[in-house]
Symmetry: C2
Subunit: 209 residues, 2 copies
DNA sequence: ACTTTTTACTTTACATCGTTAAGTTAACGG
DNA sequence: CCGTTAACTTAACGATGTAAAGTAAAAAGT
């Protein structure tokens, strides 16, 4: 008993339903627990129907991932806009690490899972736009700080600095996600590690006082 | 045509053969490409035979992983022993990042893949022993530097410092592995990012000159 | 008004995966 | 010579992603 023809709104509504079901599954039990069949069961359709709305599993996950990139960018921009760019960078580190702790599965999908697909076909809107691209936002902050010549000259250009800041915080976050349960090394508190990393990065990049 | 009884040496020889076949597969094509059936085909046995030598796939991978932890620890210790502990730390960063670049699949398995098993049953030998545990080695270096009071007092104890150093370099390495192909941000050269990270971490942790 | 095409979906099916149960066959212990 | 055991295989189960082939109702064409 297939129903009548669908309006574009109805089509994208079902697409969103599928995405919601997929997210619900993988935030709860991790990426590897998501199966097309189980998503289908949740939305009440047969498994093959999903392939009318997404090319394959990889593209479905990529769509989820793209959406989370936007969410993260928005969350990071929701900070109180401190006037000082350095204070902004500190707040950014704080928010970023909080996001990783709150949504470890999303974080894993976004930043710790290899992607085997192309970049052209999906949303290319966000790249470089600070509204939609968290890295572009960070880069803008670094550049605005750079103009005030606060960084050591040997640190290099804004891109290199931004990438180093990102890598530093990402290192703390990703190790936390992988090794939080492990007890073979006595982990300091997550917040303490984030804080020291942020302090260290800035102290190491800025000109000595 | 099953052969005669096996000596313990022959048993562990076959176990090693299985491990070698598994490694060959996953260094070449990544962890997700490794299947028990294909490993079995490589060693010339039926798939079920592998289960006589390993509890399941997870344990087989864990054994590979354990071996790589040892290898890494050995490679890091193979550095020329600089007398200066700070020079040692620099060399350690260099070797560590080189390892990640040379063996990205091993690195992913070791440091970027969640483990769903217990820690008790596998080799618990290495933990804390600088000969076998790369983190313990790093920690020893940091402690030896700490005794010379080179670190800023606000940096905290040796464990926190070691974890921050590790996280910083790991951040650069893991982002490289995941996003090396991506072009939506213009990556600086890997070596440049490693170098700036190392410089930044030390400059931020050490007392100002 | 009747036929044809298209849309939305399902059923069936295939290949592959990890893993278990049930053989099979050769060597060994009695 | 017979029974047990060690080493391994074949067959099979349930799950996975996904393609091919239906099915039925609405839309389009005449």
């Amino acid at each position: 008993m297939p129903p009548k023809t669908k309006t574009p709104e109805q089509r994208s509504a079902l697409q969103q339903l599928i995405l919601d079901a997929a997210r619900e599954l993988f935030v709860a039990r991790g990426i590897e627990a998501v199966s097309m069949r189980e998503i289908a069961k949740r939305v009440g359709y047969s498994p093959t129907t999903l392939y009318l709305y997404f090319q394959d599993k990889q593209h479905l996950l990529q769509t989820l991932c793209d959406h989370d990139f936007l969410t993260l960018a928005h969350e990071l921009r929701a900070l109180e806009q401190e006037d000082n760019p350095l204070a902004q960078i500190k707040a950014l580190c704080q928010s970023y690490s909080r996001y990783a702790q709150l949504y470890p599965n999303q974080y894993r999908l976004m930043f710790m899972t290899p992607k085997f697909n192309i970049s052209k076909d999906t949303t290319t809107l966000r790249h470089g736009n600070p509204e939609q691209d968290a890295y572009a936002y960070l880069l803008a902050m670094v550049e605005s700080a750079h103009q005030q010549q606060v960084f050591r000259p040997e640190a290099g250009d804004s891109n290199l600095i931004a990438q180093t800041l990102w890598a530093g915080i990402h290192g703390v976050c990703s190790l936390q996600i992988i090794f939080a349960e492990d007890d073979w090394l006595d982990w300091q508190a997550y917040e303490a590690r984030v804080h020291l990393m942020q302090q260290t990065l800035l102290a190491g990049l800025l000109k000595p006082a």
